[in-house]
């Protein structure tokens, strides 16, 4: 058997047929092979979906949509904390006019910015005038920017017609259930036909509108991505059914995100002690739901008004007063942008070609690995598919699974998920213990360099630090470490206690 690298960013890296990898047995190795060409093209270099592209292209969100038409148990409309990085939490509300100006200013100064999203702080389609005025202005004045919108779906059917008039890249619908009984445990009420409708009745209407909206968008050829929040004990098992349904109706991606519930957020779930999923639980469910759509693992929960490359925020450079002072010649900016985009595409193509050559040249030998158990490893990288980041600089880790089937990208683990180290915002925690906690379940961490203190603390936590593969391609290094573990006999021992406990809990 040959080992394959079931990579994070494109299928071309997979050189040999390894059979069933994530529960969806395709006839080829191409993890996007089910998608029509047009969709594949849109997704391949999308900053939200491609691990490779998000280091090169940027997206931004503008907060023009304050009103909402439903209540979710994971949301608190009172909350507005600048340390927050959850979706739906936004600091600066903009008028459509300001949003158009800000978008053009950012696009002119960060030519990599290709996608503008409206995600809140409420529901974009519950603010149709503000949302569509922004879209209309941008379609006219900045036609090289793609637009996207996230919605709870309640007002979606009546918005499809208008959406189809704009340069819409994709619509994201948050669908947490297809069963009103479960819905009633997630949504206490909706505002519908001038009434507040509670419980199962409200949830049933919401579900119907979401499904109808999804169908209408697909009919019109608009890309639809579905997000779901995994709420252990409420909808975790159910999301498998949600996944089947939305994909059969034509959603091009289904992305499962973890519930983030802390008492200090003042949300229903936070106060009532509903827990979020452990990384392992999330991963198992993502495996079940994502199927062959591995790349969706790259979707971060970005803040609704974030500016910049995924996981970074340059919003400070574009505050309202700074934008007011800027003179923007968008016609000229568009020319520069076109040149920059072409350059990036060329670079991405080159990288891909290089990876294909590498993959074709080195077919790793799997002897002795046939029955070894899978191992999770974390990688510190600042992009380019290389292990090139200092452990202490990593704000997130990429997690890979190595097994006799090859190396597979699993997902991201953020180090500072919320409010760490800020005394106004709950529990204090050192960055180091935060990093180590975020690596839960991993048996090794690969980075370019690492200090002495984290080294010993990692070892204590049962995670082997490894700085020997600096500047090497991620998949190959992970495989090499896996092989070393196999040879040293480490894989004959059962899963380390911490993880085993987690799994059985």
């Amino acid at each position: 058997m040959e080992l394959t690298v079931l990579g994070q960013d494109e299928a071309a890296a997979a050189v040999a047929d390894s059979g069933c990898s994530t529960g969806s047995c395709g006839s080829t190795n191409d993890q996007m092979s089910d998608l029509p060409d047009a969709i594949r093209e849109k997704v391949q270099n999308h900053p939200c979906y491609s691990e490779e592209a998000h280091h090169y292209f940027a997206r931004m969100h503008v907060a023009v949509a304050p009103a909402c038409n439903i209540q979710c148990h994971y949301c608190n409309r009172k909350y507005d904390c600048s340390n927050e990085s959850r979706p739906g939490v936004v600091s600066e509300l903009l008028t459509p006019e300001q949003a158009i100006k800000k978008t053009k200013a950012v696009a002119a100064n960060i030519p990599q910015m290709t996608v503008l999203g409206i995600a809140g702080p409420g529901d974009p389609l519950a603010n149709p005038e503000r949302t569509f005025e922004t879209f209309r202005g941008l379609s006219e004045e900045a036609p090289d920017i793609k637009l996207c919108v996230s919605t709870n779906g309640l007002a979606l059917p009546e918005s499809v017609e208008e959406l189809s008039k704009h340069n819409i890249d994709h619509v994201t619908i948050t669908i947490n259930c297809v069963d009103p009984k479960i819905g009633a445990q997630i949504y206490p009420w909706i505002y519908w036909n001038n009434r507040r409708i509670r419980g199962e009745k409200g949830a049933a209407i919401l579900i119907e509108q979401q499904q109808k909206g999804l169908e209408m968008l697909v009919e019109r050829g608009i890309l639809v991505k579905v997000n779901s929040v995994m709420i252990p004990g409420v909808n975790d098992e159910h999301l498998k059914e949600v996944s089947r349904i939305v994909k059969s109706k034509g959603a091009f991606l289904h992305n499962v995100m973890p519930l983030i519930a802390e008492e200090e957020h003042g949300t229903f779930y936070g106060v009532m002690g509903q827990r979020g999923p452990e990384p392992e639980e999330l991963q198992d469910l993502q495996d079940d739901c994502a199927g062959d759509m591995n790349m969706m693992r790259h979707c971060r929960q970005c803040r609704a008004d974030a500016v910049g490359l995924l996981g970074e925020d340059r919003g400070e450079e574009f505050t309202l007063d700074k934008i007011e002072a800027m003179e923007i010649d968008y016609g000229a900016a568009m020319k520069t942008r076109a040149v920059v985009h072409a350059g990036i595409m060329e670079e991405l193509d080159e990288k891909q070609a290089k990876r294909e050559r590498l993959a074709a040249a080195s077919v790793p030998d799997a002897q002795g690995l046939v029955d070894t158990r899978p191992v999770l490893m974390a990688v510190a990288t600042s992009g380019g598919g290389l292990i090139n980041q200092h452990f202490g600089h990593a704000t997130e880790f990429l997690v890979y699974e190595a097994s006799p089937n090859g190396v597979r990208f699993i997902g991201h683990r953020k180090v500072d998920q919320y409010c760490i180290g800020n005394d106004t915002c709950g529990e204090k925690e050192s960055a180091l213990s935060g990093s180590i906690r975020s690596l839960h379940g991993c048996e090794a961490v690969l980075c370019s360099k690492i200090g002495f203190e984290p080294w010993s603390q990692l070892e204590e936590a049962g995670i082997v630090p490894n700085g020997e593969h600096a500047m090497e391609p991620i998949e190959e290094a992970v495989l090499a470490v896996y092989r070393e573990m196999a040879e040293s006999g480490a894989l004959e021992e059962p899963v380390p206690a911490a993880r085993a406990q987690q799994v059985s809990a």
Binding site: P66, A67, C68, N69, Q71, H73, N76, R77, K78, D80, L93, P121, G122, A126, N127, P188, W189, Y191, N194, R195, R196, E263, E264, G266, T267, F268, G270, V271, M272, G426, E427
Partner: protein, 92 residues
Amino acid sequence: MSLSIVDSCVNCWACYDVCPSDAIYQSAPHFLIDAKKCTECEGDYAHPQCATICPIEEAILDAGGVAMNPPGSLTGIPPEKMAEAMLEFQSR
């Protein structure tokens, strides 16, 4: 008669968009209802629209000064549970 908006309002614009009488206006530190224009939605809707969409408990009061959406009625969090959580959070 008129409803009124008080300081727990978070300026989410939801009520502004649904008022049939154009009685709600943006103001600092929060939105306000023009008592002369507010009809309590009489003749337009069975329920006052602002209080029907408002997501914040105790942000809108009826003509008698009583909260249209009392504590716990919108979030589903029992008020005593919320108080407990706030206490615990503050004591950290």
